[in-house]
Amino acid sequence: MNDVKCECGHVNPHGTVLCEACGKVLDENEINNKELLDMRYEGSARRSQTYNKTIIDKIWNFFSSVKVGVWLIIITLIASTIGTILPQEMYINQPPDVYYEQEYGWFGKLYYQLGLHDLYGSWWYLLLIAMLGISLVICSLDRVVPLYKALKAQRVTRNEGFLKRQRVFGVNEIASENDLTTIKKQLKDRRYHVREENGDLLAEKGRFSRWGPYVNHVGLIIFLFGGILRFIPGFYVNENLWVKEGETAAVPETGGQFYLQNNQFILQHYDKNKDKTFEKAIDRAGAVVKNYQSNVVLYKRESNNLPGEKPKLKKVTDYKVRVNQPLTFEGYSVFQASFRNEMNAMSFSLTNKKTNQSAGNLKIDLQNPKGKYDLGNGYSVEILNYFPDFEFAKSGEPTTKSRVPNNPAFVFRMTSPEKPKGETSFVAIKQTIEPFGDNTYKMAFKGVDTKNVSGFIVRKDSSLWAIILGGIIFMIGVIQGAYWNHRRIWVQNKNGQVWLAAHTNKNWYGLKSEIETVLLGTKFSIPEDRLQKENTDKEDV
């Protein structure tokens, strides 16, 4: 492909619409057009507008189109709304195949079957985001390179056709040297960068705002890149950790390096007698939680020890883990996420059913029950079977759902002087079964000890730096592009007259009022805004 040489002598790359140096219209179709120039991207040669032969050209052209980009945004937008109709999978605590139908009927079932319960993790949503990312890269590259070249190559003296076809344009028959000096001075006062060539003038400011969109796109790409990093093993840790009061547990995914001891879990509510200001609100809402807190100690393992050996721990720190105040160490953060109250021990009394006389009490540690409890005087209780989380299996056999004592049940053998062989009794919460007929003794329920269990989330996110960097760059770019404008004012000698033309990438009202201040005290006439004139002419009818 051939480069195009303009009559001003500048050699433009193939596909250029407006000469980079003087602004002359190079595109044959455009030359005789009387309308205002399309100043987008300075009429530079964009790859997408120039080549359309190979498959790469076609892909490039597809993704470089803002139209495609906007469609991608709109599709992502609509898809995102769909995911908010029903709660997503991660916010429900039940198996999704049951939950959706049970809660929302046929609609919920359909929602689940279409995979909308995990919309934001679905392959097609990720594909949409990926396409947006590609569009961001290609759109930016397609425009920023030629735009940069064109703005760099621009000369002060511009082609007549270029000036005439600017939106803000005015002609002055004569201009005194004085007027020009005043204008130059006032332009400089308004922080314009003024260049002169053969008595022609180009005043420019805020060019850097043109890079704003590209800078913010770079920020977005880094941000999305940060999102991809998560999929690398080890970059992202997200584990639940339950630690009972008084116990110590290894922090998951730290390779057994760190241990967390939970000294106490604290749950506080607002007290309407103390917090008088909130009295009415507390009355309205019932109880309002003031604080969830776990007092913990963080330990680090001192040395590598043999498997099975108890690790030697060295205290690192005491910390009060609260909501909004995670414990952070070596890239890991431990968050206060939830808590539960767990049964810790149960007390029974071996009681004669007839006389109601107790033969002794026993307390069973639900985590670690003993096999036999000797109550003295010939009385003893043996645990034949223990179901921490009892339920009847489908076969009718008693069984346990988990190791967590949510619903403990026991099979006891009670030995007494009257019944030296022992009597068997099955005891669960609120039920007792005596499988071999009437017993003389029973295990009377005395009470239960509970302990709090703190629920922590252990998180490590090594992609955060990319997210933060991307966010910062995005903000810089978006502010750069939104809060500054690229303004140019040309004052040039043409045909013995002095022409004044101006262009801004946005905020024309601001540009026009600035021109008025710049021309203050000179005989220059205020240039007219031809777009607005057309507009108001139409509207005034």
Binding site: F278, G471, K506, W508
Partner: protein, 394 residues
């Protein structure tokens, strides 16, 4: 302190109302010229009233902050009121850039409606739940609200554009949708009126009802129940018997409020139309005669340009920082988060359409209206209907 705070808010509200009248006055007397720069006396008074009102509302904000011990942006009333205040603040800023009182005539009623709407929610000072106990509450919520308020100015400017540009001599899709926008504003007023009337009358009725799991509960209506709860049993003597009973998955109480508001809105709208004998938008048209279309278009676009970075910072970036600290993840696809993203995507699309597809003028004005609808949806529907982690806002 709390009483002083409410009084200051009330004063601000009244001042905004009066200011609106003066904005109206400043337009009518301005027929003679559109070239002469500057604001006339009515306009100046209106702006002064607005600023005094704003300061008064700022006083409300500060005194309530002192009373509560935290920034008053932690429940629906406080947040919405703050949004109204931010709207007035954003208008004041834009006014000093573009010096047009007409924008005030369109912005102030919106701000007044927003504040009135806010006052229909419980106004008690609420304690902060643990998740909210962070200085990021102040930073994130206020920045997000200010961003949304600036974006809302583009709605007001867009509305001016549409009122002026749309031909009201024949009915078309455009006149229909513009009138729909007007009706929505009237319907908000309808909500405020029915809520106030029933609350002033002290209306209450209680129902026993069964939720979708069959669990029994008591619900208290503050308006006569047109739509009764599922398996509802009226407990209040002489209470209004529901006309229809709703299935369990519909929140009958909220639906009832919506129906009452729409009915009041329709009656009000009907009365206005009866008095005006033309569309509301048509009646407003003479007011906007002297403004140039591309001038309002620019105000609208400029507001988006100013508001978008603020919104991004407040509603996404600060939100992510806080979410990382409170919930251990910066992004979790909670409905409120998703709707902030949707708003952001929408305005991103808006700017791209404008920049490269040349969607200026009327198309751009419609987009500004849609953007405001999305913001309001996020404020109202997401808090009250979809809920999720941000549900304490309700």
């Amino acid at each position: 302190m709390a009483t002083l705070s409410s009084n200051l808010l009330f004063i601000a509200f009244i001042l905004y109302l009066v200011a609106t009248l003066f904005y109206g006055g400043s337009i009518k007397t301005k027929k003679e010229s559109n070239e002469k720069k500057g604001t006339n006396r009515w306009g100046t008074i209106a702006v002064v009233l607005t600023i005094v009102g704003f300061i008064s509302q700022l006083g409300y904000f500060i005194t309530r902050w002192i009373a509560a011990g935290h920034a008053p942006v932690s429940n629906m009333f406080e947040f919405t009121t703050f949004f109204g205040m931010a709207l007035v603040g954003a208008f004041i800023v834009i006014y000093f850039i573009y010096r047009t009182t007409l924008l005030g005539l369109f912005t102030m009623p919106v701000a007044i409606l927003v504040i009135a709407y806010a006052s229909m929610f419980p106004r008690d000072i609420t304690p902060l739940i643990p998740a909210l106990q962070s200085y990021w509450l102040h930073i994130h919520v206020t920045t997000a609200a200010i961003g949304e308020a600036i974006l809302a100015i583009s709605f007001a400017a867009g509305l001016i554009y549409l009122v002026k540009a749309i031909d009201q001599t024949k009915s078309s899709k455009r006149t229909f949708w513009l009138e729909t926008v007007m009706f929505s504003l009237v319907a908000v007023l309808g909500f405020v009126i029915v809520s106030s009337v029933f609350s002033a009358a002290g209306y209450h009725e209680k129902f026993n009802w069964a939720d979708k799991h069959g669990a029994e509960a008591v619900v208290e209506y503050t308006m006569p129940a047109l739509t009764g709860p599922h398996a509802g049993e009226l407990l209040t003597k002489d209470g209004f018997k529901p006309l229809v009973e709703m299935p369990a998955f519909i929140n009958a109480k909220k639906l009832n409020t919506v129906i009452w508001s729409l009915m009041a809105g329709l009656v009000l709208f009907g009365l206005i139309r009866l008095v005006l004998r033309k569309r509301i938008a048509a009646a407003l048209q003479p007011l906007v005669k002297n403004i140039k279309l591309d001038f309002v278009d620019e105000i609208s676009y400029r507001s988006v340009l100013i508001g978008f970075p603020v919104f991004t910072l407040g509603a996404l970036i600060f939100a992510m920082i806080w979410a990382q600290m409170a919930w251990s993840r910066f992004w979790g696809w909670d409905p409120k988060e998703v709707w902030a993203l949707i708003t952001w995507l929408f305005y991103a699309a808006f700017m791209h359409l404008r920049l490269s597809k040349g969607w200026h003028g009327e198309k751009s004005a419609w987009l500004a209206v849609i953007g405001f609808v999305i913001i309001m949806f996020n404020l109202v529907a997401v808090n009250l209907v979809i809920a999720g982690l941000h549900s304490y806002a309700g």
